[in-house]
Symmetry: none
Subunit: 410 residues, 2 copies
């Protein structure tokens, strides 16, 4: 089955609210194996909504709308759907009773407009709304099917789950499952070359790369008759990718790099302490975003001044005079200093120039030194990052977390 | 002028990412007085993108696309726009030079695919992308105008602001100006009651509240014949709001709470040091996100363990036994300890339970104590936040930064 989503609401087109309903419905349709090729957003305007409905019904069998079911005059989705399908609106007794009861129960008085909410296109079925007054509608005519859902997510989500999903499950053939592999330490264009043969001529499962800040995601999507078959197809392609990409793959689906590092430390029963200069606490912040981080993370110090590097990490002032604060020596002394003082298994030191000021020809903005010390490990690296201050901070922590991950892997 | 937005990306239709670009572009178009009646989302599929472009170009003069400018084979926006407009693709020398320079600077090697990114529809203008490799495109033909922007918001937003907005401003009749007031320390529902009379019956300027994490934004939008007239109308409403809301307004437009705090410290010539437990470095990270923070921020310590609180802040072990690590006493001793050791003017201490584990009936998840000490100031507060671990961290730092701001204000 193929579907389209039409989101109705002028507030969406003004950018006043984010259309989380469209995201929710897209995920649900994907999980049901229903193909979604278009989403459209229109304002509270009958002619434009009618046009969008007509175009969508010409392309697909199922159209799901969200919004425009309220009691006010600019709520006109049901009226317009009825018109687009050539149906009249009729009073739905059970919806009227429900609305009357709702007002009696909440002690509010019902207005003329609320009666409008009990009207549905003839031949349609009202979908109960336990969280509000606007019932939804499911209506079919000549092989075309329109489902109208209310705009507020706390009404739309339970209505979809309780009353629409079961109808769709009954109709849909097959399932679609997907899995995302997350990669770090390889750019998108190099990745695309490495797996060019797997990306070419793909049909089922499909494979799609997506670059984001400091990492690349690879989405595998399989269509099959059963969940088990889809999962086999995904596992098969995943194992080919893992054989090719190895440790570059750090996690799957929603796993973050910091969560992988915390869980590796937990498995090893080891602890970490970090000393940051240019990243200003972002590394500690990312690690402590992971639930349970306190078991492996002892402390972090953000040593922005040379004095604080001396006091908190024991780095002699002569070092700054000799090689400067942004140097391999200082990165190493920071990692060793924080590890020694915390008595942790691992220590990280980061020093660099996040900008926008503070750069020189010799030590430009984006230059970063980072060190990792631990049992039998003593690494120090130089990197040059581009971007603004926040990007340089982000990219530095991504690189450091990836070095930690690769070092901790068995 | 009328416009439509087409968002391109299969990941959008699978519900894997939220289309924040569409929200940003919608707000920008509204602010420019450009009418937006449709938004469409299609996948990485040339025929469907072409159909969407053709339909949109039949309805309006300006179509803005986002996404599909990357180096891989499923990035096909420019190719499809060229086809829809009946234009061929040509090499843009300046874009190629820029891309080559980008790869040279970052020390990565350029692949064949990256050359594709320097192709643009003939007669078009490449829009520079300082945040990535994919240039944008602006191309006109026979009264129709298509602007192609990259998908990553970090690239799309600056490209729009620097290169597209000026072009749109030059074309639009009359002007629309807007100004956002940013508020902290008052919930949206209280705010709406406080300014109910100003929200009612508004026509020009309009006033729209928008709640986000730990703050509320109030957008004032004025339409006028000239910029000067629009600015007078905005200033007039702004002064009424400021008289009513006072110090609850912390900034305007893109100003962040942390930037306001850093600039207040700079004005006073004072310094700050912070000691964090449950926020895990997020406060230091937010402060060091502000360019120039190094002039006022000496150091931060993330003392996750009691031992680190003892060693780095001099808190006696008996205190933990007597009142526990999550207590007003420990918050105060953290603030005093970090201030004394850093020799800074101000010290902050934060201790609490970010969850999801670690809560008890007496000290539940979300309980936070925070202290601020400085010249003649010795404050300690209790707060109870809801949400997940990251929300509790975020809301805590928002509250602490707001306390700092209000204390530092003249």
């Amino acid at each position: 089955m193929r579907a389209e989503i039409i989101s109705v609401g002028t507030e969406l087109l003004l950018g006043e609210i984010v259309d989380t309903n469209a995201v929710f419905l897209s995920q649900e349709l994907a999980a049901l194996g229903i193909e979604l090729y278009h989403r459209t957003t229109v304002g509270d305007n009958a002619p434009r909504l009618k046009q969008a409905l007509t175009e969508a019904l010409a392309r697909v069998d199922l159209v799901i709308t969200s919004g425009g079911l309220g009691p006010t005059n600019d709520d006109l989705t049901k009226e317009t759907v009825a018109e687009a399908l050539g149906l009249s609106l009729v009073l739905d007794r059970s919806s009227l009773e429900w609305i009357e009861e709702y007002f009696a129960r909440t002690g509010r008085s019902m207005t003329e407009n609320n009666y409008k909410q009990a009207l549905i296109p003839e031949g349609g079925v009202a979908l109960p709304n336990p969280k509000g007054t606007a019932p939804g509608v499911s209506v079919r005519k000549e092989g075309k099917w329109v489902v109208c859902l209310p705009g507020p997510p706390r009404e739309l989500i339970p209505m979809f789950r309780d009353h629409v999903r079961p109808l769709l499950q009954a109709e849909s053939q097959g399932v679609i499952r997907s899995r995302v592999l997350r990669l770090c330490g390889m750019g998108e264009s190099v990745l695309v070359k490495e797996i060019a043969d797997l990306l070419a001529n793909q049909t089922n499962p499909t494979l799609a790369p997506l670059a984001s800040e400091g990492e690349v995601r690879l989405r595998i999507t399989a269509a099959a008759e059963t969940v088990a078959q889809a999962e086999v197809a995904i596992a098969d392609l995943e194992s080919k990718l893992r054989a090719r990409l190895g440790r570059t793959i750090y996690g799957v689906d929603d796993e973050t790099l910091e969560a992988v590092v915390v869980s590796l430390l937990q498995e090893r029963g080891e602890t970490l302490a970090v000393a940051e200069s240019c990243t200003g606490g972002l590394l500690a912040n990312r690690i402590t975003d992971v639930p349970g981080a306190s078991a492996v993370f002892d402390r972090g110090v953000v040593t922005y001044s040379n004095r604080s590097k001396a006091e908190l990490l024991g780095i002699p002032a002569t070092v700054f005079e000799r090689v400067g604060a942004v140097s391999t020596e200082v990165a190493t002394l920071m990692a060793q200093g924080v590890r020694d003082r915390a008595g942790s298994d691992w220590g990280v030191g980061i020093t660099g120039i996040a900008g926008p000021g503070g750069g020189t020809a010799e030590k430009p903005v984006g230059l970063v030194y980072y060190a990792l010390v631990g049992p039998g490990v003593n690494l120090v690296r130089e990197a040059r990052f581009t971007g603004d201050r926040q990007q340089i901070k982000r990219r530095t922590t991504q690189t450091v977390l990836d070095l930690l991950r690769r070092t901790l892997l068995p």
